[in-house]
């Protein structure tokens, strides 16, 4: 038995961890209470089996690649970081990348991850053509939009609960360079931020970093980052068409005492961050894709900043109508508390593709909170606002929502459960998350 947790380091659970080396061994590893795990970047308990956790990162082979079409077949453990580093210089990138490149293909499919382009280009699953799935029942099936389509759409965003993804075939986008033309817009409050995101609807990439300690007339003040793929002609003389993903060499070697993050340090940081951004506002510049898409990746183990007890991420999506009031109310409460992350992320989402995919047309807000005090009660109250507005929480970030919140947010749950049951009648595939939110007790 090993102690296992997600990226938020809460909860920490005992599980039997296996690292199979062959697909046959994956099959043998499946027993009652098994879940697949990719690179452990889900924050909460999604990648922890109730009994057994099967780590897939050993499966890191590219099976085939067709440069004429950008179609690629991959084993589920290939990391996006590897894919970007290998195929970027050849002019290909994934269509969708989340805020860290250290996620596996299996994890990206299972969470149907969204990037800064969800509002116009959709989620990860949209570019997946087929998957090879090892079901809880013991079959290995190929699923696509045409073949085993129920299994396909339940697996996209299905948080590993339909079985273990062994391989996926997806499409890569062609790019001229690995650089992004970035434009920063400075928004003085929430209304301005939402307007700027709306205006950025036609931009390929858009995201807002909100200063979540700002209150009063400054509530929701933020920096909006719009981005487009840069062409070769936009690069400065002598710049390589594809930048190298350097590690800053920074890392967090130990758990910082929870004190380090307090309202004073956060306020000071945010003031500085906002002012630096404001100076760049209006103009545009060309930046490497690495800091643009993965701002936190250059600091290894940054999750330790929150101390040993870990932290919680709260990511909700609120349908467009009525979003302004609810987001305002949430931000107001968060600012009053003063212990949330330095920066909250606000962005627009479009329609999701999988049956349980998180995205729906509206605004998504993501916040981090250290685990302490009455945080669980506080988040329950926030959830009530989310549910009342017809919103939902992202399962890849969740460690604590209630069954009621979940059921209210995901009306397609019945359909998902029926498909899951047909793929796994004995109920072998289970995670701590499914035990908490889905499974019959």
């Amino acid at each position: 038995m090993t102690l296992v947790s997600g990226w938020g380091r809460f909860p920490v659970v005992d599980s039997d961890v296996l690292r199979p080396r062959s697909f046959a061994a994956v099959g043998e590893a499946v027993a009652a209470g098994t879940i697949a795990r990719g690179n452990g970047r889900a924050y909460g308990d999604a990648a922890i089996g109730t009994v057994r956790t099967v780590t897939m990162t050993g499966f890191d082979r590219v099976r085939s690649f067709d440069p004429a079409t950008g179609r690629i077949r991959l084993e589920a453990g290939v990391l996006l970081a590897d894919l970007i580093e290998t195929f970027g210089p050849r002019g290909f990138l994934p269509f969708v990348v989340p805020g860290t490149r250290f996620v596996s293909i299996g994890g990206a499919v299972a969470a149907d991850v969204h990037g800064k382009n969800h509002h116009c280009e959709g989620g990860f699953g949209r570019y997946v053509d087929s998957i090879l799935l090892r079901t809880g029942q013991g079959e290995v099936i190929e699923a696509s939009r045409e073949q085993n389509s129920d299994a396909f759409f339940a697996t996209i965003g299905g948080m590993g609960l339909t079985g273990i993804i062994l391989e996926a075939t997806m499409r890569l986008r062609t790019v001229e360079t690995g650089w992004i033309r970035e434009r920063v817009i400075c928004a003085s409050d929430l209304d301005a931020a939402m307007r700027a995101l709306d205006a950025g609807d036609s931009a390929t990439y858009s995201v807002a970093w909100i200063d979540c300690v700002a209150r009063g007339k400054d509530l929701g003040r933020s920096l909006i980052y719009l981005g487009e793929h840069a062409g070769k002609d936009e690069l400065t003389e002598g710049a390589a068409a594809f930048p190298v993903g350097k590690d800053s060499g920074l890392g967090v070697p130990v758990d910082l005492p929870a004190m380090t993050l307090n309202r004073y340090s956060i306020r000071a940081f945010n003031e500085m961050y906002y002012r630096m951004g404001a100076r760049r506002a209006g103009g545009s510049r060309v930046v490497s894709l690495y800091p643009y898409f993965f701002p936190l990746d250059s600091i290894a183990d940054w999750n330790r900043i929150y101390g040993r007890r870990g932290f919680l991420q709260h990511q909700c999506v609120i349908p467009e109508a009525g979003a302004r009031d609810v987001l305002g109310e949430i931000l107001e409460r968060v600012a009053r508390r003063g212990d949330a992350s330095f920066l909250a992320v606000l962005k627009k989402l479009g329609q999701g593709d999988g049956i349980l995919s998180f995205p729906l047309p509206g605004y998504t807000l993501a916040l981090d909170f250290p685990v302490r005090g009455d945080i669980l009660n506080f988040l329950d109250e926030i959830d009530r606002l989310v549910v009342a507005a017809g919103g939902r929480l992202y399962l890849a970030k969740d460690a604590r929502q209630s069954r009621a919140t979940f059921a209210a947010g995901y009306p397609a749950l019945q359909r998902f459960n029926a498909i899951r049951k047909s793929l796994d009648p004995a109920g072998n595939i289970r995670s701590k998350l499914s035990q908490r939110l889905f499974d019959e007790v």
Binding site: R19, R21, R61, V62, R63, S64, F65, P67, I72, T86, F87, R90
Partner: protein
């Protein structure tokens, strides 16, 4: 057009073998993978072709079958520029203490086979006047330890073979690299207690081998910390060392 350089990895299916093949293919080498089970190497060959658009050959090679070595080398389409031997067998020390056959297999897998095959390639490279030979040995060969001296002694023999071969071959334009990886997180070490700061991942070893070939380094301790650790261990007087349960 200048033809691409080529490298062959003996023991291609190991984690270090896969990582090394990737490092060389990424650097633009055509690679060949050699191992006991050629069919099992197919997915790795496909991976390298898809990733790096290089030529990948597969060859059957069994390090215990020394009688086949001449035929193996003669059967290659061309003499590679770089030959890398990653083969080795950790075995189980406790079993080797009483099971002579097991002890012999460990010795042959880590010393006899790798030395003979690299020696054979050395002759061909010397005849050509160029080439690099890489042997993956082990820090375990720097001093025999109570807990793994069968393996360690074979690695010690291999290290000594490589250093002698290096001294000789350097006069003929052929370079020999000895690699001592230390703890690597691989199939071989799964379940073992490894010391975190002294442990590296397989790709780090692959990159270190590629760099050593480029820089003509003689002996590589993949994690620099090991050079110091082994210096201390090597210089402990036998009377003290004997008492350590190590």
């Amino acid at each position: 057009m200048m033809s691409r350089k080529s490298a062959i990895v003996l023991g291609g299916s190991s984690d270090i073998g896969r990582a090394t093949a990737r490092a060389f293919a990424k650097a633009g080498y055509d690679v060949a993978l050699a191992g006991r089970d050629v069919a099992a190497l197919e997915p790795d060959a496909a991976d390298l072709r898809a990733r790096y658009n290089v030529e990948v050959g597969l060859h059957k090679f069994d390090v215990l079958n020394t009688a086949s070595f001449d035929g193996f080398v003669a059967g290659l389409p061309a003499l590679p520029d770089v030959v890398i031997s990653i083969v080795g067998l950790l075995g189980v020390q406790q079993n080797a203490e009483s099971d002579l056959a097991h002890a012999a297999t460990i010795m042959r897998s880590n010393y006899e086979g790798p030395s003979l095959i690299l020696g054979l390639f050395a002759e061909k490279c010397l005849a050509r006047g160029s080439g690099t030979l890489v042997g993956v040995s082990s820090v375990a060969g720097d001093r025999g330890r109570a807990s793994n001296y069968v393996y360690g002694s074979a690695k010690a023999g291999f290290s000594a073979f490589l250093s002698g071969l290096r001294a000789r071959a350097s006069h003929g334009g052929v370079h020999v690299v000895t690699v001592k990886p230390g703890f690597v997180r691989t199939k071989m070490t799964e379940g073992m207690k490894l010391i975190g700061p002294l442990t590296v991942e397989a790709p780090v070893v692959g990159d270190a081998i590629l760099a050593a070939v480029g820089n003509k380094t003689d002996v590589v301790y993949v994690s620099g910390k090991w050079r110091l650790v082994m210096l201390i261990i090597k210089t402990l007087p036998e009377a003290v060392f004997k008492k350590l349960k190590f």
